[in-house]
Amino acid sequence: MTKISHAQALVDALHGSMARDPSISLIGSYVLGLGPLRFLVSKIRDDFGDRVFDPPCAEAAIASLGIGAAMAGGRPFVDIGTASFVFEAWSQIVNEAANAHYMSGGQITVPIVFHMLHGLRGGGAAQHSHSPQAMMWNNPGLEIVLPASPRDAKGLLNTAIASDNPTIVLDHAKLLGIEGEVPDGDYKIPFGVADVKREGSDVTVVATSRMVQVALEAADRLSGDGIDVEVVDPRTIVPLDKEAICASVEKTGRLVVADETNVSCGIASEISAMVAEQAFSSLRAPIMRVARPDVTMPFSPPLEDHLTPSADKIVDAVMKTLG
């Protein structure tokens, strides 16, 4: 075990995978965004330069290139950069990659990974702040991965690269610098297996990505008030570990879902509906959602902060389930 950053864990997984498998190419120049940790990718360029490609500003063509290469036997790792740019490649991802296995009757597989940084990085404003994973969830055929810790980042990325399905890995700029204990060597974390990040008995908080860290912060505060919060991190929303989520709700009887997608048709909404359907008799209070309001994201910091899902809002929601 070594304590490393989330960004380093991603690089380790990608580097290790590329070392083992010559069919993996990295297509994209900004895997770790534009922050100070971006130079960690240099190791991949140094060791596998002939398999690293810097694409032009052409997300549709580059996504297509990756998808076609995957269909033809490669394992491309395509970095989209800021998740908002994925919309340029939307037809390719949802209408080519996601469909191909099913509509070909199983003849075609698309073992591609798309990586991107989603969410509120601070000052991204309307066009650079999206969390598109809920939209992706609403289109069958994409595995969707949301690592929330360095340990999860390395293991989930290894599984994503090895997966024969089109896989979207959504990271977050505010997670990249967080450090945590990471096993040395190669390991995979299976998809569809949630992780209880904090055990508790009073309320379940299901959270994804950066909101896991925010939920843990809220749980710490609430423990000071004698409220014991269980934080469940699904780690992947497709496939989703419904059993683990429902088991936690059966234990606590109360649920708050915290997510950075917009509230309408967002991840929090879908998980709430699923629990209401499958674990209704366990619920002692209505389910609360803490998500982004359905508002275009403004630039000015106090405006953005007002709309950002926060530890305060999670604390409020927990109190509502207890009130």
Partner: protein
């Protein structure tokens, strides 16, 4: 450049063309008899382009085609019975009934996913070529697409990327809108501001050739030259093959406007008549090549008619196979979205 096309190659090309033609006539019949429903698109009038191109390709070349895929798929050698079955949504179809006419593909013959999104084939061909370049065994990718594809943004991005990365891809643009009667007559003309379609790839520095898509020998020569250069590592090549649109190809519902093809009209030209006599006489590529087989290679009329009879038999058997194929089990509809593995719970 003059190309030597042999008699054997010509016979092979003509067999492909006959199969394409008789297959599509059967599809029109199956639609008319309500064996399947919905939009479909036929390759009639474009057989010279497809057959000549497919003759040049290797087994390990990868192919991307579009909603107008039937000719490419059966011309490549895929079983026509499974192709009919797929078009009719039956379980024995190549895609198990899940794709239908729009997404017909046979992976074992080098077809990747068949996209019916205009421009999709061009985009995917970049990836096929990218992978083949890495594997480095000389195989190439081929994208068949129509003139309309060049109106989509993905096509422009793809031309740039193909040139930038020197991808081994043959971009076969089948322009079947030239000289047509236009939108008022129910046809779909390209809405391109480019003076000539061929100006578009040239703007990206891609070698480009324009050929008569109804002329087997011209297409064969152009494709042979292009493929040699692509396999030699020179990057992409763009061919625009122009055909006059078959009168039965309407945007929504194809009709058997020129009837079941009578091969004998290749030499009994005085008997050509009807509303579309001009197209049959001057633009039917199957009849044209039947004439050329006689004139350049002394193939007899009997031999040509015998080839056609054999194709008719093959198509009839394939049709029967497909009509007898069951529909897939309804509750199988929920399976097959993902590849399962021990890494997915």
């Amino acid at each position: 450049m003059a190309e030597k096309i042999t008699l054997d190659q010509s016979i092979s090309i003509f067999e492909r063309m006959l199969l394409m033609r008789r297959f599509e006539e059967a599809v029109l019949h199956l639609s008319h008899e309500k064996h399947f429903f919905g939009h479909f698109h036929v390759y009639i009038g474009q057989e010279a382009t497809g057959a000549a191109t497919l003759e040049v390709l290797r087994d390990d070349d990868l192919i991307l085609t579009t909603h107008r895929n039937h000719g490419h798929v059966v011309g490549r050698g895929a079983e026509p019975g499974k192709a009919f079955a797929e078009i009719m949504g039956r379980a024995d179809g190549f895609n198990g009934g899940r794709g239908g006419t729009l997404h017909l593909c046979d992976r074992s013959r080098g077809f990747l996913s068949t996209s019916a999104v205009v421009g999709g084939a061009i985009g995917l061909s970049l990836g096929a070529a990218f992978r083949l370049k890495q594997v480095n065994e000389g195989a190439i990718a081929v994208a068949f697409f129509g003139d309309g594809s060049l109106e989509e943004g993905i096509a422009m991005e793809a031309l740039n990327v193909a040139a930038l990365y020197e991808l081994p891809v043959l971009l076969m643009c089948e322009n079947n809108s030239a000289g047509g009667a236009g939108a008022a007559a129910g046809e779909y003309p390209s809405s391109e501001m480019a003076a000539k379609i061929a100006d578009l790839p040239k703007a990206f520095g891609i070698p480009t050739e324009v050929v008569d898509g109804e002329d087997v020998r011209a297409v064969y020569t152009a494709v042979t030259n292009a493929v040699e250069r692509i396999r030699g590592g020179e990057g992409p090549f763009f061919i625009e093959a122009i055909t006059e649109r078959w009168p039965g190809t309407k945007p929504l519902w194809p009709e058997l406007a020129t009837g079941i093809t009578d091969i004998a009209l290749a030499w009994e030209r005085e008997k050509i008549g009807g509303e579309h006599a001009r197209w049959i006489r001057d633009h039917d590529p199957v009849l044209r090549f039947a004439r050329e087989l006689q004139e350049f290679w002394d193939v007899t009329q009997d031999k040509i008619m015998e080839m056609d009879r054999q194709v008719d038999e093959q198509v009839a058997a394939a049709k029967n196979f497909a009509v007898a194929s069951p529909f897939p089990e309804p509750d199988s509809a929920v399976h097959g979205v993902f590849v399962q593995s021990e890494n997915r719970q």
